[in-house]
Subunit: 347 residues, 2 copies
């Protein structure tokens, strides 16, 4: 198995990427080659400074770099010698099995659609992130790759999310829920009412109905679907509220000597809490619907985040995620087409 790693992607590249790759090779490198893509001299110099031995890795020299300032569409079309475009092209050509990048989400999304292409029935991949809850994380999609969605897209998000939750997150019968402003079937906008109807008759999933945003962190759903604009709000607001609350707690403990001593007592508990809320534990967000596994690591990933994104990519390959997903999508789309034919005949 060969996994391609964009060594120039993310705020902490290339150092954090190299460190993450080294950790991955050591912890679960058996039977897997990690190929590092980036300007060879830059990578060699960084590795030397970090005392990382590059011998276990394949090095693929890509002189160009895509930055956060680049226009995603232009970058995908023009920067052919960048680590991202070169990697996705190799993936497309069957020269490797998966691609991992902490680079620009927009560029990765566009370039994946253009180069790697998508599964049959999917026009553009969806970004799926795991959100921690009081119980276990749920998979949220679309997290912002597709700001505008149709109801049939939200329906396929349900199928793809369910397959991912089963294959990669180990949920036997994933409960799929639709974000909505009320639990009742008829709630929401026309888009959400139609999405609800489609999900209800989707034979490839176990649909648990609507979920209200207030209940998301209770952790009763395995997969939560919505359009990309709303998904982006949910992902970013959850981060924002959690961050704000934790920063509000600080002054509580800094008040006086007694409260500072109190902090020492509960410090361990807080560490567990922070670990639970730590996105680096998961590693990355898969672009579901891409024809081959593409994992977007968080832009601020440190070594641990990169390592765990590589682990995710490995799991996707080992479980033939894309093959299983295509079968489930075929079933979903056949059922939707049959329902439409029946409705047309009924009229």
């Amino acid at each position: 198995m060969k996994i391609l790693l964009d060594a120039m992607g993310g705020d902490n590249a290339p150092n954090a990427v190299l460190q993450g790759a080294a950790q991955a090779a050591q912890e679960f490198g058996q039977g897997m080659t990690i190929a590092l893509l980036g300007p060879a001299e830059t990578l060699k110099k960084a590795a030397a400074e970090l005392s990382i031995d590059l011998a276990p890795f394949e090095l693929i020299d890509c002189p160009e770099v895509i930055t956060m300032e680049d226009d995603p569409v232009k970058a995908a079309r023009q920067k052919k010698d960048s680590s991202m475009i070169r990697g996705l092209t190799m993936l497309k050509n069957g020269e490797a099995d998966a691609f991992v990048s902490a680079g620009s989400t927009g560029a990765l999304h566009v370039a994946t659609s253009l180069i790697v292409r998508t599964l049959k029935g999917i026009k553009r991949p969806a970004l799926a992130a795991q959100i921690p809850t009081l119980k276990q994380p749920f998979l949220l999609l679309d997290c912002g790759a597709n700001a505008e969605c149709r109801a049939d897209m939200i329906n396929t998000f349900g199928t793809m999310g369910s397959v991912y939750a089963q294959q990669i997150m180990g949920r036997a019968v994933p409960a799929v829920a639709l974000v909505n402003n009320g639990a009742e079937d008829h709630k929401g906008t026309p888009l959400y009412r139609e999405a609800h109807e489609r999900l209800k008759t989707n034979p490839s999933i176990h649909f648990a109905g609507n979920i209200e945003p207030r209940d998301l962190l209770k952790g009763d759903a395995d997969v939560v679907v919505c359009d990309g604009f709303v998904g982006n709000v949910i992902l970013k607001l959850t981060e924002g509220v959690a961050g704000a609350l934790l920063s509000m707690l600080k002054p509580v403990f800094l008040k006086n000597i007694a409260t500072k001593l109190a902090y020492l007592t509960v410090k361990g508990g807080f560490k567990d809490l922070k670990k639970m809320m730590d996105s680096e534990e998961v590693g990355g967000a898969p672009l579901l619907g891409a024809a081959k596994p593409v994992i977007k690591a968080h832009g601020s990933s440190k070594a641990k985040g990169i390592k765990n994104a590589i682990r995710q990519a490995r799991l996707c390959v080992e479980n033939d995620l894309c093959g299983t997903m295509q079968k489930a999508l075929d079933e979903t789309l056949a059922a939707a087409a049959a329902a439409e034919t029946a409705a047309a005949e009924g009229n």
Copy 2:
């Protein structure tokens, strides 16, 4: 001034409503009559049990009750002898100055539109809630009254929210921001891009541009606008995440005797934090765009929430909120019409 209070609205009615009314009468009852609407016998019995003297209040006998199970539209049209419909009709007829209810949001929204009607240029009122932040609360609208919105509606939310922030929340020059999935002008769906363009040229507000959900609780905006589906997600998710995090903290302190002792030390600080996050401190959400002041108190309001909702209603009347809002809306709509004419002539 006369303020009408729906004594049968909310989970804790009529007891919490009567207690809130009694507190309001005592704390800021000067120059104001509070009229209690509900089945007279029920209210008298509850007041006697709570040892509340009904003498300072006007009692308006309304034998019917609207429940959460009632269909909002049907209830608004048929239950004419309910506290809500009777109150809104009195408000419409000039027999009182404002209406406060903790009852069904859907019924109150529909009935307000049908009976009290709306300001010129507004088709349906928006629900505006104050959200606590690291600094001061911001006003969020629409919070869910209008799941589907057009860009011109979001533009008027900006104007109405700005007037409310100025008149009632005491912000001299309110900064109005648009929720979006990026800070740049061109971000978002076509709806959000058009809303951005309109807000940018709205002469009645100080538009601060897009705000990302991650930054909402930093507290830099005074007014935040979006469609009602997204607003509902923001309102409910903020409550949900805050609640989940606080419940995650519990086991940290319950671990052993040392951590339990530690809790005693920081308890005061937590109380301040909880007070800051307490929606009862604000009281209620105004239905902005109604022709006269209508305040929706939280369904779970206790006495304090009701009292503060009455205080809000009083402030709206004292500041002639609706009159000021109509002037600002006239200006907003004239500018929008002029821009459209200019654009048409340009083509």
